[in-house]
């Protein structure tokens, strides 16, 4: 950079000019947010500490983490078992998890939901619209 209002342009460096500017702005904004946060805390004094909790009160641990883990496993299953089997399994388990209790009715609902969705998605996407499935 020659001075503040001129940017040196070199063909081989075109790709890093803009990212550099963006990163600089991000850092400045980030620093301002952090500064403002601490400024507010100091101003309010330590007597009134603002509690920040990431999760809401009484959040549903099993449903949140369960669905996150299932989501993570699903792509692996698709690569291993193919679309049909893995989707039926995934749908069954996740519907059951969301209902939250193992009863005859819940099992039945989950199974119906799993089979119906998998078949409809497979038929509509894969057969009618000819879209590649995993």
């Amino acid at each position: 950079m020659e001075d503040l209002l001129t940017v040196e342009l070199t063909f081989s460096e075109y790709h890093i000019i803009f990212p550099r500017i963006i990163i600089t702005i991000l850092l400045i904004l980030g620093a301002m947010i952090v500064f403002r946060y601490f400024y507010k805390r100091v101003k309010q004094g330590s007597s009134k500490k603002r509690e920040f909790s990431f999760f809401m009160a009484n959040y549903d641990k099993s449903k949140l983490f369960g669905s996150a883990i299932l989501l993570f496993l699903y792509p692996f299953m698709m690569e291993l078992l193919g679309f049909l089997i893995s989707t039926i399994l995934f749908m069954f388990v996740i519907t059951l998890l969301f209902i939250g209790k193992v009863q005859k009715k819940a099992l039945f609902t989950s199974l119906t939901n799993a089979l119906a969705t998998t078949f409809v998605v497979w038929y509509v996407f894969g057969q009618v619209f000819d879209i590649t499935l995993p």
């Binding site: 209002l5 040196e8 000019i17 803009f18 301002m32 809401m56 959040y59 369960g66 699903y74 996407f125």
Partner: protein, 500 residues
Amino acid sequence: MELIGILSPMSIMLCFLGVLIGIIFGSIPGMTATMAIAIFLPITYALDMIDSIGLLIGLYVGGISGGLVPAILLNIPGTPSSLCTTFDGYPMTQNGQGEKALKVGITASVIGGLLSLTILYFFAPLLASVAIDFSSVEKFLIIIFALTIIASISKGSLLVGMFSGILGVFISLIGTFADNNEMRLIPPGLEDQLVYGFSLLPVLIGLFAIGQMLIEAEEGMKPATHQNIELNKGEKSKFKFRVFKNQIVNLCRSSVLGTFIGILPGVGGSAASITAYSQAKSFSKKPGNFGKGEPEGLIASESANNGLTGGALIPLLSLGIPGDSTTAILIGAFLLQGIEVGPLFIPTNPDLWSGIIFALILANIVMFALMFFSIRYFAKIVYIPKYIIFPIIIVMCAVGSYAINNGVMFDVWTLLLFGLAGYIFMKIGIQIPPFLIGFILGAQCEKYFIDSLKGSGGDLTIFFTNGPVAIGLWVLIIAALAYAIFDNLRSKKNETREAA
């Protein structure tokens, strides 16, 4: 008839289907028109452009309109844009006038939608013809203006809003810069997968659908409480078109307000409905009735949020800049078909342009017919349990992401990564709409920036000296920032006054 010539029977059918599905999505609290379009985008990959336009416009109109059902019946806005519908709609339901409220809302919606599309029809080509002469300097400044507005009206602070938008730009820069074919910002080990950066669609669906799913899972997927609602009580509660007799000014004002708020990039439906509602209240002869079941308020809110649909399409089709997050996803649909939206879109694609207009007319009419005559059945949708819907959505998201580039498993990982990111963003206060618009416009923003500098030999003053349009845009940018700071100060003052 010209309608049949431009829209094929297939696209008419898809538009019909789109409206139906859109209404269902809009009716289920927590699901939005944006989500509906994002999920159905992959299907359009296999369709002609005109057919996919039919489907997507149908989803858009249906999704925005469906939000009034839970707003009126349950006091929960089905989409953010029907927030003010709850103010007068729910009290009407409590008075046993549920069906009347729904029908008033539906009629106001269709009028708002049709008025706004008239404005779209005349205004978009005009704006495009001005924008055609813009150089890369003006195009760069328009994008900066869009990002500033989005940041300044986003909930929370201006700083965080700007941070979110710039973060979106940053993520969009990952990959290769087309001018000199050099890669940058790619984490080591992922060079093969990220040569072209993250795909747009999995990022969109992840942020909107998967992030929302995780939030709902955290809340335990509780179904809406089932109440016995009496939809129609007595002769006085019957819906008659006479309700609208003295409301023509209100209808027109709210629709036009909704449309023009829609034009401002990034300002969503909730702002449109709030503005129209407060205007209607201050002009009304009986402002005291507002909030107690006054059809006038309902009409303002619903005609404004449907007015938004036409308005948000104006900057999209004339400048290539999305008016809200839903139209941001529509950009994805055009890109899938290899069509670039911008000032040249209307002159070079006249058939597509009239297709969009006809699809909007059709979608509004279909929406009205479907909802007006079978509202009693749609009223039941609000009780579909979420534990059935969300698993279906996840599978459709995964299939869609996988299919979008013809079978790339990395896109499914992108979907999950941004789903998780969306969840964390909502928790730590990073705003998703500015992030998304930044992500979509980031690459273009860089291209215009570098092109401008190439023209000036690296001189940054080019952004200030390139003629009156550039200066006008700077004025707008500064005005948007000043408004945000002023508004922020005012709401803080109010807070301290209330606290004291």
